[in-house]
């Protein structure tokens, strides 16, 4: 469960869905009697050899956990989607109106070269609540070398971050939901099965997929506020409630990010970008900052690691995500990578699985999601606050059960 900062009308319960999850490990209870006890669900799959996975697989994983959602938001992210445009930033938008699109394209024209643009095919479902956004994607390259670009003094990536922040902040009805290379986010308001159908997720193939289904507590979901929440090549599916949000927001806002999505989960994405891309921290160190060990445990670490652990807690105390969470994080730079992390008490569930042949790795809130697509998977659980890292081309770099900073200290 998460809370949502969206200012909006009172909570309206979704229409009773007409179809039940096709395949489910849960008993089919008529919807009106379904216990509303769930929480968000997260699921991810990645093929280590980089071979492509159909969207059907992730759809099955996430819908298997249908009891964890309440129809107020769901989403998918795929990596390795656009081999033909792997060098371009793929900016995928939700537009609430044609004016929003026009205005956005005007802004884009000033900032980037347009290599290609296309409408993203969508299929509104009768069970879903309109209005439906217009979904469009643009393959772009920053207008490097122009005077305006040079005047910003920003790196290429920060330039793109600023572009996304500016549009989301200033262009009404326009939401850039993903902006990385070789990846795209498909998300919206509805049950996971509805969103999957809306985007026809099965038409896409990627080397890695992450997905989220949502049980927000404070507001009806809104399209852009659904997960994954993405900036550049980062995407985050977050199941949790951040009790330290006011503190975390401070750090990312000081670093120039604008929190426009009105959900606490947004800061998680920006924290990863800040610490790993901009501060160049190893993933293990960034994960430690977000879910640090207790001091009493830090005491037991060897000298150098203890120093680092303390230094991370001092320096990045505003990055500490307090409260329960489990997150799946994806990125494509330098290689397509999945990171799975739970809070330091592990108050939210997170299990991992690997296929018998060792090539397909999974992460999910519940084991059933993994078993539903890979019956032979061997399952393990990450430890509290301990990241599992899986990379295309490298394999399982960490299982999430190891000592904190292997090889991170110079």
């Amino acid at each position: 469960m998460e809370h949502d900062y969206y200012r909006s009308a009172a909570l309206s319960l979704p229409e009773a869905p007409r179809v039940f999850a096709e395949q489910s490990y849960v008993v089919d209870i008529p919807d009106q009697h379904k216990p509303r006890m769930g929480s968000c669900g997260i699921a991810g799959c990645i093929n280590i050899d980089g071979s492509l996975i159909s969207g059907a697989k992730i759809e099955k994983m996430i819908t298997t956990m249908s009891e964890r959602e309440n129809g107020l938001g769901s989403g998918f992210v795929a990596y390795g989607l656009f081999p033909d445009f792997a060098e371009e930033y793929c900016m995928q938008f939700l537009f609430e109106s044609e004016e929003a699109q026009e205005l956005t394209e005007e802004v884009l024209g000033n900032w980037v070269y347009m290599i290609k643009d296309e409408k993203v095919p969508t299929y509104p479902q009768r069970s879903m609540n309109p209005p439906f956004p217009l979904v469009w994607r643009y393959f772009v390259r920053p207008k490097k070398g122009t005077e305006a670009y040079i005047r910003t003094g920003l790196s290429e990536e920060d330039y793109m971050v600023r572009l996304v922040m500016s549009i989301n902040d200033a262009v009404p009805g326009s939401h850039c939901v993903s902006s990385g290379k070789d990846m795209a986010v498909f998300k919206g308001s509805g049950y996971a099965r509805e969103i999957a159908k809306f985007y026809d997720i099965q038409r896409y193939k990627g080397s890695m997929w992450l997905s989220h289904s949502r049980f927000p507590t404070n507001s009806p979901g809104w399209w852009a506020g659904s997960h994954p929440i993405s900036i550049l090549d980062w995407s985050v599916c977050h199941n949790g409630e951040i009790t330290s949000y006011g503190v975390n927001r401070k750090l990312v806002e000081m670093a120039g990010y604008k929190c426009t999505l009105l959900t606490d989960s947004e800061v998680v994405t920006y924290l990863w970008d800040l610490m790993v891309r901009r501060h160049r921290l190893p993933v293990t160190a960034a994960a430690f900052a977000m879910a640090p060990w207790y001091y009493r445990d830090i005491e037991r670490l060897p000298d150098e690691e203890r120093r680092l652990a303390n230094q991370l807690r001092i320096t990045y105390k505003e990055a500490f995500l307090n409260g329960p969470f489990s997150i799946l994080v994806g990125r494509s730079e330098p290689a397509v990578t999945m990171i799975a992390l739970a809070d330091r008490k592990k108050l939210r569930p997170l299990v991992m699985g690997v296929s018998d042949d060792g090539n397909s790795v999974y992460a999910a809130s519940e084991e059933c999601a993994i078993k539903s697509v890979q019956g032979d998977a061997s399952i393990w659980a990450t430890r509290a606050g301990n990241p599992a890292i899986v990379k295309v081309g490298e394999g399982i770099v960490r299982r999430g059960t190891e000592a904190p900073f292997l090889g991170a200290i110079g």
Partner: protein, 504 residues
């Protein structure tokens, strides 16, 4: 007409002669000479300050002190307090002195702030069963951990001098001179035992206290009394005092009669001379000058300890604070207008400055806007009376709270506001040996330790209830506060939502 008009007595002392056993203890205990023994009875004279020493020490509870019913004809504008001060000024022609913090009701905002708690969507934490951390750091933070070209972390380049404390609490600066040797010894020992920091106050460090220096913060005030390089190298951090909340813009004044052997040695000034610290530092007339002093102090402590700056909360506190951080301060202390003092002109104590609630939020917001907040430790003081105040102050933006008066109350102080007279019947704000010996260092230490320990437990309870398991996640987390007072504009300034407003 008399040259001096008598100011009506404030308190009435009644001795229950049936209960009294004529032990005469109260007469010895009263340091203001109010009680006398005549005709086999305790007699009461004028001048009671309601310090309650006799009431508490009387073995048979025979003494009752109460406020005298209002003798002045009621008037909504000319309160008895105002009439008293006018008479007193007409009598003496002088500036009225007082002590402790501001005595004016309209300034308390802590009582208008409510805390949040976790329900359903995230679990609250029971601190008796699960760890809730209160470890706190004081000093400059690097902003980021340095990573070299090979992607390896360079710890040497990342570390800055930092002080580790077990609680987000610092015992504020109370100088030897303003309080007795025994009182200061108790505060310092308590700080060591709790592993927190205590301020030395202006006036150096007594030789006996050097063993506790690792838990002390040296104050460098405008008088520079007792400041030696040896002293600065022993302590854990150094604080440049620019101002104090109780008397912003003022210096210090320790009257000559208090400058006895002990004080004269520690402060390094001749016996019996007034110890006057100037209003400004006469080598700091600008922010550049402050920068130089910060550098000098860092240089003389070989960059091993954090150097901070303490200012009174004044109207432009946000901008001043950011200047101070840019000038190199590793930590910053803001002292609010209700902060205590051993002696201050009443007019400034009650009328100048800004409440700490507003100041700490303003500074936190300003440092955030300027991207400096993750580089510096923010300490806030000025009437942090209870754990609740401490928690609200942290949520408003402070990393560490400074506490003075409550620590003195733990030793016996009853906030009678007579510190400036040097006759504290509780042995705290005095240099008279027969009075200061009333403080038993072991017992007073234990009591201070008890109190802060209790505060820290209460902090953990609140954090746990909020679903937060480490105190840093509360710092400046104004989302978890709501305002319930009379003036919603204050809520806006505090950046706190009004009670009844949800997250959105």
């Amino acid at each position: 007409m008399r040259p001096n008009i008598k100011i009506p007595e404030k308190y009435r002392v009644v001795i229950d002669n049936d209960a009294c056993i004529s032990c005469k203890r109260c007469i010895k205990e009263c340091s203001y000479g109010v009680l006398d023994f005549k005709d086999e009875k305790v007699k009461v004279k004028d001048g009671c300050v309601s310090c309650l020493r006799c009431v508490i020490e009387c073995p048979t509870s025979a003494i009752e002190v109460s406020e005298k019913p209002s003798q002045f004809a009621p008037h909504a504008v000319f309160s008895p307090e105002i009439r008293r001060s006018i008479i007193s000024q007409a009598n003496s022609g002088g500036v009225l002195l007082s002590s402790c913090g501001a005595n004016a009701e309209y300034m308390d905002i802590f009582n208008d702030i409510l805390l949040d708690a976790a329900q359903v969507t995230n679990p609250s934490i029971d601190p008796l069963r699960e760890p809730v951390e209160t470890k706190t750091y004081l000093g400059r933070r690097p902003g980021k951990v340095v990573v070299d070209e090979n992607g390896k972390i360079d710890l040497d380049a990342s570390e800055t001098p930092i002080v580790v404390m077990d609680m987000p609490i610092m015992i504020g600066h109370i100088s030897l001179g303003s309080i007795s040797y025994n009182a200061q010894a108790s505060l310092f020992r308590a700080a060591s035992e709790l592993n927190i920091i205590a301020g030395t106050g202006e006036g150096g460090l007594h030789a006996d206290f050097y063993p506790m220096a690792k838990n002390l913060c040296a104050e460098v005030a405008s008088g520079r009394f007792g400041v030696t390089s040896n002293y600065l190298r022993e302590v854990s951090c150094v604080d440049i005092k620019i101002g104090q909340g109780a008397k912003p813009g003022h210096g210090g004044h320790l009257p000559g009669e208090k400058v006895q052997k002990l004080i004269s040695e520690t402060r390094m000034i001749p016996l019996g001379t007034d110890a006057l610290s100037p209003y400004p530092h006469h080598d700091i007339y600008s922010i550049e000058d402050l920068q130089q002093l910060i550098s000098v102090l860092k240089e003389s402590t070989e960059y091993k300890v954090p150097v901070g700056v303490k200012i009174a909360a004044v109207h432009n506190v946000g901008a001043i604070a950011s200047g101070i951080v840019r000038a190199g301060a590793d930590f910053l202390t803001i002292d609010g207008l209700r902060g205590g003092t051993g002696s201050a002109p009443r007019v400034i104590r009650d009328h100048a400055g800004m409440p700490i609630e507003i100041a700490v939020s303003a500074v936190d917001q300003r440092l955030e806007q300027e991207g400096l907040r993750d580089k510096v430790t923010l300490c806030a003081s000025g009437s942090i009376r209870t754990a609740a105040d401490m928690i609200k102050c942290i949520a408003l933006g402070a990393d560490v709270v400074g506490v003075c008066t409550s620590a003195m109350v733990a030793m016996g102080c009853t906030v009678c506001q007579q510190c400036h007279r040097g006759a504290c019947s509780w042995g705290i704000a005095t240099q008279r040996p027969e009075l200061s010996s009333r403080i038993d260092i072991d017992i007073a230490t234990r009591r201070i330790v008890n109190m802060f320990h209790a505060w820290n437990e209460e902090l953990k309870e609140i954090l746990g209830a909020m679903g937060i398991d480490s105190v840093e996640s509360l710092v400046g987390n104004r989302d978890r506060l709501r305002y319930i007072g009379p003036n919603p504009r204050i809520a806006e300034i505090l950046d706190v939502k009004h009670s009844g407003e949800g997250w959105g």
